[in-house]
Structures are given as structure tokens and as C-alpha cells.
Symmetry: C2
Subunit: 165 residues, 2 copies
């Protein structure tokens, strides 16, 4: 099913600690599409799962919304695509933290991005997203800022300069 | 397996007719990656098969060679990705024609590209490709000319102007 992904994204305030018992998974992902144009196409290893994801910009240009198709791929296909993806890769540990009616997903980046912590909350609609009041451990909001997309971070994670579009 | 695709491409001379008994299949394909940069990522329906293909430029810049990964996807995933791909699509019938040691693949385009016929021959290496002498029914060579890539043709098939890079 094509998902319409509605989410907001924030930095994590430095004093926040991962709650005891919050489940986590390790992610590494690489980008097959070029930076800054059209669909974003990536492969992701999440624990033992191997996935491909295509995200398209919202047709109405709403930065809160993207259309997303995600599907499993064979381990062998993943390895081949990973090799084609070039250097735009990143890895992180993802923590899932319940937050009232919604779930916060905290990504703790690794490698050259170590120290960066980002929290995302997904909503069932644009109205709910707008009404959401971030708790105090949420820092600066990054929603819709292309400089903080994972696609951009994958470039920065390689120690290359942040390209501007 | 990642294939290294080594091929040459020509127009078909107008007098040529499809040989009786040559097998054919119907193809339609749509592009998920933007025109003219990086990896070329498409979905293709070939008869009942549904495939995704990622083609990367040769690391040494040889226009004869591309690295290619192709893998089957579920019908449902194909339909979702087709919807995300936008307007850069094309359809054609593909004829397979034996040609001595190699096989010629003739694509007869449909829709707005009707009248266009292109023949491709795939080789087991760059030396064989260079030594190949095209038969008389091969017209102008198009190898390595981006204006004649299927990616470009998918743009032209929609009646849009050919974008230049």
C-alpha cells in the first residue's frame, strides 16, 4: 500500500536519555537516487530485514507529507544495490519511545554523524500533526528542512561538504 | 548478480521486416529516477513479469558499459511504483533475432514514439563489441548517445520537449 507519510522532525535536547526498556533496532541505509531532485530511493538494512523504499514528494508540495512505497528485497539484491549506491550512506540506532497517542522515533546517528540525535513523530493526518505539542525534550524543529533530511545527512556522514541545491 | 552490460545500439533501417517466427514480448516501463544524473532506476512489465532495474554508469566512464541489477518485484509493488513514477513512461514490443554468435533485440516503440525502431546487441566484452560488424539492416549507430537512451525516449513519448542536460 502506498503510505502517505505525515511526520514532524526535531533535534533531541541534549539532556534527554533513552528510557530504560525502550526497544531499538540498528539501521544502515544507502541512497540510489541523486540528492535534491524527484523521488528519494534508498535501500535499508533494519536488523535482519532488507528493504527498498521509494519516497515521492507530495503532489501539492506540502513539506509535512510524502508518498512512500516500501518493500522487502532479497539479501543478495540488497548487497548488489548497496554496492551501486556509492558513498551516500549512513547508519544509526533507532529507539521507539511511546508518547501518549503517538510514538516518537529517536535516531542516534553513528560514524561521522555521531552526536547527532533526531526525533520523528508520525501522524495520521495533517491536522493532528499541526496540533501536536512537542514535549520539553524536543529541541529545534527540522520538519521540511532539506538540510536535515536523511538524504542530506548521508552526504555529510561521508565527511563530504554539504552540497546545496 | 550484478551484470556488466556491454551493448551497442542502432536505428533499424526502414526496409527491414521482423522475420517470421521471431519471438516477441510486450514491455512497458516507467522511470523513478530523474533524467540525466546518476543511477537509472525503472520498473518494467515484461509479459507477466514485473521487474525493477537499477543501472549505474560505468566507473571508468566507458559509454559501452553499464552495471545493472535487475530483480523481480510483486505485482502490487509494481503498481504502486508505477503510480509514483510520473509521466516518464514508454511501451514497446521487443523482437529477438539471432544474428550469428550474438542476438539482436529489436524494439518497436508504441504510442507517441510509434515508427521508431531500435536494435541492440549485447556482447560478452568490450573487445567483441568493438569488433562487431553491423549487418546492412542496421542504420545509424546510437551507442552512448544520451538523446537515444530509453530514459530520454520516455520523456519524448509523453510528447514533452526533449530536455537537455
Amino acid at each position: 500500500m502506498t503510505n502517505f507519510e505525515v511526520e514532524r522532525k526535531f533535534l533531541v535536547a541534549t539532556e534527554w536519555l533513552v528510557p530504560a526498556g525502550a526497544p531499538s533496532s540498528h539501521l544502515r541505509q544507502a541512497y540510489l537516487s541523486p540528492l535534491g531532485s524527484g523521488n528519494e530511493i534508498r535501500v535499508r538494512a533494519k536488523g535482519d530485514a532488507r528493504l527498498m523504499t521509494v519516497k515521492a514528494p507530495d503532489e501539492d508540495g506540502n513539506p509535512l507529507v510524502r508518498r512512500e512505497v516500501e518493500f522487502p528485497i532479497a539479501d543478495e539484491v540488497f548487497e548488489q544495490l548497496w554496492a551501486l549506491a556509492g558513498e551516500d550512506r549512513l547508519s544509526k540506532r533507532r529507539w521507539t519511545v511511546p508518547l501518549g497517542d503517538v510514538t516518537a522515533v529517536v535516531d542516534v546517528y553513528e560514524g561521522e554523524l555521531a552526536g547527532l540525535r533526531v526525533v520523528e513523530v508520525e501522524f495520521d493526518g495533517v491536522d493532528t500533526a499541526r496540533a501536536f505539542e512537542p514535549p520539553t525534550w524536543f529541541g529545534e524543529e527540522l520538519t521540511g528542512d532539506p538540510a536535515w533530511s536523511n538524504r542530506e545527512l548521508a552526504v555529510r556522514s561521508e565527511g563530504r561538504r554539504l552540497r546545496s541545491d
